[in-house]
Symmetry: C2
Subunit: 334 residues, 2 copies
DNA sequence: ATGAAAGCGCTAACAT
DNA sequence: ATGTTAGCGCTTTCAT
């Protein structure tokens, strides 16, 4: 059906080995030969069959990207820049959303292995971290994106979550808040953000209440749910500010507040995280900690490719700086 | 390295042909043999090498998805449901974002062909429609998602855009608006939405002004730009309502309005399209025409698989009903 | 009912 | 400098 290496060889009057060498830019040969073959390749629009190439043990030029949920703007943004840069490098990307489900994690790793992806980028949340070890043991190129876990020796690209947590909390403290709740999603990054939250309290000499630290999964619905729980505490106990560990949760909180005639930021200040499109499109605009998603996505591909090409160099770490974007959901405590 | 069909054959004491037959559930053989082989496959955790399988002409179990921009919530939602359903069917999906760029369209089609995807799902916008014809001629399974163009004979999954355009416009007309602008993105679907917009005017016996029909690409920035252009007309000429052909544009419009101290909906009513997360998270909540993204994504995979499996059945058409979700950006004309 | 062998398109070691 | 050939892991036809 499609044109094969044999067609090219025949048309150019050489053997398939020579064609192969031309394609891979290896071996010695007369320059005239190379040119002739190149011309035929052009004319016949020959493209090596990826399957056949892969079968001989070479790369598939495919990256496996595993995220919890591609419909979360944070991940779709990351995915965009990953895909973009991968394509620049002549690679394609297969996307898998785990939906925070352990079984899916297993399934997708297995699937991607079968598809012989050249490497993996795993983002944000992974319940079964033992899978990382397995991948590493098998020398599979792997980059963790937004999972800056020191216990895993592998390449990582993240922001400084501690710093981010500190920035957000400190901003609220500076605004006079003393009763600040943190709503943390179930992700490694959030643990660091909580430490940052603690540190900000310590530096300001504020004793934080452990019950102000809440955990959930990153959805708008959960933001709403948590908010109801929070105001269920009654006026006195109710926090005057909430730091949500991502924008989805923050948006849920804002919306539920509106439902309860609680005004943001007059009654309660809110800070989000990620600075996704949601932060800039919500009204009031959501104060949020920005991550350089573009750069991070790009870098993760770069690091991965580096790993694929050099068997060593498998433990680079890149930490980006978070930036607090102040909008309208935070104000002085009254 | 990994366990091959030979390993299984040896362990089960049969030939590789038999193993192959067991895997593919073909051929006749003693049930005991089948069971024995199956057991070995289980034990050895054998998985056929996709590359080798594909090389013999069988399917790759991969779908190529081409969208304009995966970071647009509308597409990331579609992608999510497509990916979801594809995985249910043991297929994976390679995503490509064209960024509305003609060259990228060519590049990605070529890329996906090389990767031997079993079929294509192309969504929303494609500048060079001649590529469709080429695909069709080569009998490549193809489904157009949100491109309900009658001039192309191929399977399609869309909503009724005419109906959607009518619904949105009619809603505004019923609210007393007579000077309604439509901001249409460059996509086939928008053309139909414009017809719906026209029809609503006709039925209400309103003569529309052609200059109220504006075109642009779907970004928030363009929404802002168009809005500035619109209010540049001066009070008298300025439309009292704007129908944006997607939420991104609508959000841009709302934001720019705020900048100019123009109140939505008191001064100008706005209707969006797609009913993405942006419509529900913006304040005021954006009135928007909903598409059943979940169902549409799912259906497109279903149709594609049907096409892959049966060489015929390549011209199904599914039209979903749009639904107007009324929120807070539309009100009676003052 | 089961196996032997050719072939899918390519790479790489070995010949010439 | 270029060609021959043995795999890579699988499917499928043809024998047995």
């Amino acid at each position: 059906m499609s044109v094969t290496i044999y067609d090219v060889a025949k048309a150019a009057g050489v053997s398939i080995a020579t064609v192969s060498q031309v394609v891979n830019n290896t071996g010695n040969m007369r320059d005239s030969t190379r040119q002739r073959v190149l011309k035929v390749i052009e004319e016949l629009e020959y493209h090596p069959n990826v399957m056949a190439t892969a079968l001989t043990g070479k790369e598939t030029k495919t990256i496996g990207l595993i995220v919890p949920d591609i419909s979360n703007p944070f991940f779709s943004n990351m995915a965009k820049s990953i895909e973009d840069y991968a394509h620049e490098k002549e690679m394609s990307v297969i996307i898998c959303s785990t939906k925070y489900d352990r079984d899916k994690e297993h399934k997708y790793i297995k699937l991607l292995k079968q598809k012989r992806v050249d490497g993996f980028i795993i983002a944000s949340t992974f319940k079964d971290q033992s899978l990382f070890e397995k991948l590493i043991k098998k020398k599979k190129p792997l980059v963790l994106l937004s999972i800056d876990d020191p216990s895993i020796e592998v390449s990582k690209v993240s922001i400084d979550d501690f710093q981010g947590g500190f920035l957000a909390t400190n901003h609220l403290i500076e605004k006079g808040h003393r009763n600040i709740a943190i709503v943390a999603e179930e992700a490694y990054s959030s643990r660091k953000r909580i430490y940052g939250y603690r540190e900000a309290h310590e530096q300001a000499n504020i004793t934080l209440k452990e019950k102000n630290i809440l955990h959930t999964t990153a959805t708008i619905e959960n933001g709403k749910r948590i908010f109801r729980k929070l105001i269920g505490r009654g006026e006195a106990e109710r926090p005057t500010a909430i730091f949500a560990s991502n924008d989805l949760l923050a948006i849920g909180i804002i919306h539920e507040a509106t439902q309860h005639q609680i005004h943001i930021p007059e009654d309660i200040s809110v800070v989000g995280f990620d600075n996704t499109i949601l932060a800039s499109t919500s009204v009031p605009g959501l104060t949020s900690v920005a991550q350089p998603m573009e750069d991070m996505g790009r870098k993760s591909v770069e690091v991965l490719i580096n790993q694929i090409e050099n068997d060593d160099a498998s433990n680079e770490r890149f930490l980006y700086n978070p930036e607090l974007i102040i909008r309208e959901t935070t104000m002085e405590k009254k």
